[in-house]
């Protein structure tokens, strides 16, 4: 295909990937009022920016996939979203989040936030696209964190 517009689009995308990093695209996807389709596109660019780092050898891991064959980047990205969300406040809010999303995970009394968050991220990663995107939307959406924060306070008080 020799469409000049296609070349121009691809050129602009590569320029963006060369200029901005993973977190830049992720932050842009958090912008208030962002249409869902654009948010998903920005997250895809964020993933691409991360795999670009992989290509030029900045990642320590020699394998881009974990033992289950999933790209390591996806789970880390989900974990990063979790860390930034109000649900990462403590282990109880994390467990409540998993419960609300219908995600079953084992939580041992001595488990810390990182361990539980990692398990949740792993479970989200394996979900079908629709379910995964719905959950990622709720993690990344910047709408009214106060309301969500208060809901989490109430839930953690009730248990």
């Amino acid at each position: 295909m020799n469409n000049p517009k296609v070349h121009a689009i691809l050129g602009d995308i590569h320029k963006m990937l060369a200029t901005y990093g993973t977190s830049d695209f992720l932050n842009a996807s958090h912008y208030p009022g962002m249409p869902k389709s654009i948010r998903l596109a920005l997250r895809a660019l964020s993933r691409e920016a991360d795999s670009t780092l992989n290509v030029i050898g900045l990642r320590k891991s020699s394998s881009s996939r974990d033992q289950r064959g999933f790209p390591r980047t996806e789970r880390r990205r989900i974990l990063e979203l979790l860390r930034r969300s109000p649900y990462f406040e403590n282990t109880r809010t994390l467990a409540a989040f998993a419960r609300d999303m219908g995600i079953k995970i084992n939580v041992n009394p001595k488990d810390g936030r990182e361990k539980i968050g990692n398990r949740i991220a792993g479970s989200i990663e394996k979900l079908p696209d629709n379910s995964r995107n719905r959950i990622l939307d709720s993690l990344a959406s910047p709408r009214d964190t106060q309301t969500q924060g208060w809901i989490d306070v109430i839930k953690s008080s009730a248990h």
């Binding site: 009214d144 106060q146 309301t147 924060g149 208060w150 989490d152 306070v153 109430i154 008080s157 009730a158």
Partner: protein, 266 residues
């Protein structure tokens, strides 16, 4: 009262749903406050183990207060609540006078103390009535409010019959809220409530709070409506007019002769 008149005001949240607390505090500040200073539930309940934080608060209840605003040396504080207040409703024994005793330690620092109660009759309502000198009834003009008004008047009668000093709580009156002003059904409800109030010799405020989307938005923004840029002037000044009428009613009621002394509690 604080904003317009510069009074020292304390808002006591006595509702297990703790909406008043959620309105004036962000959830992060609340979590820090609950962890370090406690809530009204910590002051009223007897925990199985009194840790150092609770010892400090029990000895000095002012430590549990959250400063909402302070201007020219005048303060507007909150005694926050949380969900654990529901425990008192489930375990009401020997609770009636606890709030009064608690507030006796704090109230000298304030010109006005407002206690926000749930609209249901429970030990919390009894505690609030016991601790109060006046009662004001905010009410939406609808059918459920008419029924709720009947419940409330019975609650007040029961309280007065059981209370050692029946003159303690004076009803300031009913103030209508969320009035749209464009519904026959609403107008009819207001007429019915006014008739019921008249029968019980309860005053109905001339000022009311008109319905406004700005109220909903200001709750979301956790900002008093008169401090927002988007609210209509009439919405902003409505609360001030109600406050003026409230003060006038308190003045009138405090001058009214007492019908007769009741039994002493001691």
């Amino acid at each position: 009262m604080h904003q317009n008149e510069g009074f020292n005001v304390l808002l006591v949240d006595l509702d297990p749903q703790f909406n008043a607390t959620q309105y004036v505090m962000d959830y992060q500040s609340f979590q820090d406050h609950r962890k370090n200073a406690g809530t009204i539930a910590d002051l009223l309940l007897d925990p199985p183990r009194l840790d150092l934080r609770l010892k400090k608060v029990r000895n000095n209840p002012s430590a549990a207060l959250h400063a909402i605003q302070s201007e020219n040396g005048k303060k507007f504080d909150l005694l926050p609540a949380d969900l654990s207040l529901a425990w008192i409703v489930k375990n009401p024994a020997q609770m009636d006078y606890r709030l009064e005793k608690l507030l006796d330690k704090i109230r000298p620092n304030y010109d006005y103390v407002f206690i926000d109660c749930a609209p249901t009759d429970s030990v919390l309502t009894t505690m609030a009535l016991t601790a109060s000198e006046y009662l004001v009834i905010p009410m939406r003009p609808d059918r459920f409010s008419i029924l709720g008004f009947a419940n409330l008047t019975e609650t007040i009668k029961t309280f007065r019959n059981n209370c050692p000093d029946p003159n303690e709580v004076k009803v300031i009156g009913v103030v209508f809220t969320q009035v749209t002003g464009n519904s026959d059904v609403e107008q009819q409800s207001m007429v019915e409530i006014e008739a019921a109030a008249k029968k019980e010799q309860i005053y109905v405020f001339e000022s009311s709070l008109k319905y406004s989307n700005s109220f909903i938005r200001s709750v979301r923004d956790q900002t008093p409506i008169f401090q927002t840029l988007y609210a209509h002037r009439k919405s902003k000044t409505a609360a001030g007019k109600i406050a003026d009428e409230l003060k006038a009613r308190i003045t009138a009621l405090s001058k009214a002769p007492k019908p007769g002394k009741g039994k002493n509690r001691e």
